[in-house]
Structure formats: C-alpha cells, structure tokens
C-alpha cells in the first residue's frame, strides 16, 4: 500500500511539474511560432502572385485560401495552399491563379520529401517556371519526353516523372475544389 501511494505521489508531482514548466514555455513560444507561420505563408503568397500587395483569407471555403489584391486594391487572383501525395511523402505547395480561375500565375513547393537531386527538381526552374501563365482549363495536363504542344501542358522531368505528375495532380485537385466551392458560395 505504501509503495503504491509513493508511486502515485511521485508520478503525480513529476507530471504536474512538467505540465507547469511546459505551460510557461508554450505561452512564450506560441505567439512566435504563429508569427513564423504567418511570415512563411505571406512569403509564399507573394511568390506566386507577383503583383500582389495585399491579401485576405477567403471565408466561404472550409480550407485555407487567400484572395490577393494589387496596389490599387483590385482583386487579381487567388493563392491556394494545397497538398497531396508525392513520390515518397506529402508535397505541400502554394498555387497562384488569376481571379477568373483560368490561368495559373505561378506555383511554389513549400514542403516535400522527394528524392534529392531527382524529385527535388520539381521545386526548381525550368520545371517550376512552366506553370507561370499556364492555362488551367479544363485542367493542367502533362506530356512526357516531348516539349508541350498545348497551352495547358507541362513537360515532366526525366527521372522524376512521378514527382512531376504529382505536382500536376495536386494543382488540378486544388483548383477543382476551389472552382466548385467558389461557384457554390457565390464568387465574391
């Protein structure tokens, strides 16, 4: 009985002390972590929407999405963070698209765990720059081993076809959701 009580008391004290200590550290760190996350998102938005000067979250959709405005306050498009499966794990990216959802402005890969030197080429030019001013209607398409012939096509990277296709699939998936939801919620 005495040992059980001792065990209970010791573990309780350790648990409470840990909890208290962590609460203190967390109350200091949380605002900083939130600020870091916001800064990273902001940077990504301005990377995919080069004319953007301001942005506001779209509130009619259930996921994260931003409406961006140029210097004179006109809505120039959307920035949509979206994620999907890559070759080895999740790829998280920011998709920039014009206000009528017809043309991509740019894409930026935020997080990925693709094969270094092969799959990671999807985060770099020239693959990345193919998405600038790319027609996204009816959807983005890919071709393998040949230069793109149509306006909505990108060429996959040799040796990283799966990663390339994954990027295209994520873009299409994100845009499909956005189109549907904006049509339903009534595009502002």
């Amino acid at each position: 009985m005495k040992t059980i009580l001792g065990m209970l008391i010791t573990l309780s004290i350790i648990g409470v002390a840990s909890g208290g200590g962590l609460a203190l550290v967390s109350s200091w760190a949380d605002p900083l972590i939130a600020a870091n996350k916001k800064a990273a998102t902001e940077l990504a938005i301005f990377q995919v929407q080069t004319q953007a000067k301001d942005y506001k979250p779209v509130e009619t959709v259930s996921y994260e999405c931003y409406r961006v405005f140029d210097a004179s306050g006109n809505a120039v498009g959307y920035a949509l963070p979206w994620e999907g499966n890559g070759f080895q794990g999740k790829i998280r990216m920011m998709i920039g698209i014009t206000a009528d959802l017809s043309t991509l402005t740019a894409i930026e890969v935020l997080e990925q765990v693709e094969t270094p030197g092969l799959g990671t080429k999807v985060t770099e030019d020239p693959f990345r720059s193919q998405f600038a001013d790319l027609t996204a209607e009816p959807q983005v398409d890919w071709v393998k081993g040949a230069p793109p012939t149509r306006e909505n096509q990108v060429e996959t990277i040799t040796g990283a076809t799966i990663s390339s296709k994954a990027i295209v699939a994520i873009v299409n998936d994100g845009l499909q959701h956005l189109r549907k939801d904006l049509a339903e919620g009534g595009a502002q």
């Binding site: 840990s18 200590g21 967390s26 900083l32 270094p116 030197g117 092969l118």
Partner: protein, 226 residues
C-alpha cells in the same frame, strides 16, 4: 564500493572511450537520418545534449525519491518535458532548422542514448558527475554527428556548412545524401576508427613483447661473449 574516477575522466570518457556513436552504437536513428549536412548534425547533437544534460541533472537530484517500480515512467516524463521545450524553442527561434529536422526533434524522447544514460549513470551518481557525464556524451555525439554530416555534405552536395568548397567540375555523389549514404559513411568511419585502435593496440603489445624478449637474449649474447 565502486571505484570512483576523477571528475575530468567523467567528462572525457564520452568523447572517445565510450563515444555514444562509435563505441556504444546508441542513438543510431538521428545519427543516420539527419546528417545530410554538417549544420543539421550539429543542431541535432546540441538539442540532444541539452535534453541529456538537464534530464541527467534533474534525475540525479531526485534519484533517491523515485520508487524503483516507476523509475522508467518518471525518466520518460522528464525527458519528454525537455524535448518538448527544445521543440518549442526551435520552432519559435529557428523555424528553418526546425523544418529541416522535422520529426527528429520530438523523436529525441526515444533516443536510447538519453534513457540509457539515465538508467546506467544519472540514477546512481551525484548531480555533478551526472552533468559532466551528460556533457561528455553530448560532446561525443556532437563530434560523431558533425563529422558524419560534414563528410556527407562535402561529397553529396559539394558544400560545408552551406559554403561551396568543391569545384563545379566535381559531380556530387547523390548517394551520400540519400539514406544509403548514411549507412556507408557510418560503417566505413566506424571500421576505420576501430582499425586504427586495433593497430595501435597490437603495436603496443608487440613493443612490450619484444622488449621482454630482447632482454634475456642480450644477456645470453653477453654471456656467450664472456
């Protein structure tokens, strides 16, 4: 009574004699996973050292109060607390580094190097010795991870700490920054270091042996002369 070594030895034994990576082969998961660059290795080792030092200090202080039946649970709670602190501080102050190291920071909780030192050392020794032991083990871990990271970074991406040191003409060995590169580098390093140790040992033995063998021979030779 256990033989007490000097406080200085308590620290230095972790550097080489009981080096956590090369000699005890502990903490392999972070060793292999995060050493794609020297900076990652150093950051990982420093985070581990912080957790190890503070856990050792606290556990050594309260070692007589913890009932034996719940000691492992107590250790884990204390270790997890410090790991969470490290994780929060890194996410707040070094977001880039924290993103690079990803899940490996929270995984320090289950690094067997840390729990191993608590069970084998901190729970049986005074706080001063426990802290020195932890700092020594941490320094040994740092040496191992930094050198492993440096080798992999130089050969795999031509840079050291982000600065390019090999010319563009050198084609980076991609395998070095892939998981296989970690195993190859660690295995070769460990083999090389142990080979050196073994060679030194045999040489010393031979020297000792020849000295003892020569003496009677010399006296024999002298005797013949006389």
């Amino acid at each position: 009574m256990k033989k007490q070594v000097t406080l200085f030895t308590e620290f230095t034994k972790g550097l080489w004699d009981q080096n956590p990576v090369f000699k005890q082969v502990l903490g392999m998961c972070p060793t292999l996973a995060v050493t794609v660059s020297a900076m990652n290795g150093i950051a990982m080792a420093l985070a581990t050292t912080f957790v190890l030092t503070f856990s050792s200090l606290i556990i050594s202080l309260i070692r007589k109060l913890i009932p034996t039946q719940v000691r492992i649970a107590s250790y884990i709670v204390i270790i997890a607390t410090f790991v969470t602190i490290v994780d929060l501080v890194m996410r707040a102050q070094f977001p880039e580094l924290s993103k690079e190291l990803g899940p490996y920071i929270p995984l320090i909780v289950v690094n067997c190097l840390i729990l191993g030192r608590q069970e084998a050392f901190a729970s049986k020794n005074t706080p001063i010795r426990a802290v020195l032991d932890a700092l020594g083990m941490g320094a040994g871990f740092l040496i191992a991870l930094a050198s492993l990271g440096a080798i992999r970074e130089i050969l795999g991406s031509r840079t050291l700490l982000g600065v390019q040191i090999l010319p563009d003409a050198f084609e980076p060995w991609l395998v070095m920054i892939l998981p296989a590169g970690a195993f190859l580098t660690l295995g070769l390093m460990m083999g090389f270091l142990n080979f050196m140790v073994l060679r030194k040992k045999t040489r010393e033995e031979q020297e000792l042996l020849s000295r003892h063998l020569q003496e009677p021979k010399m006296s024999l030779a002298k005797g013949q002369e006389a």
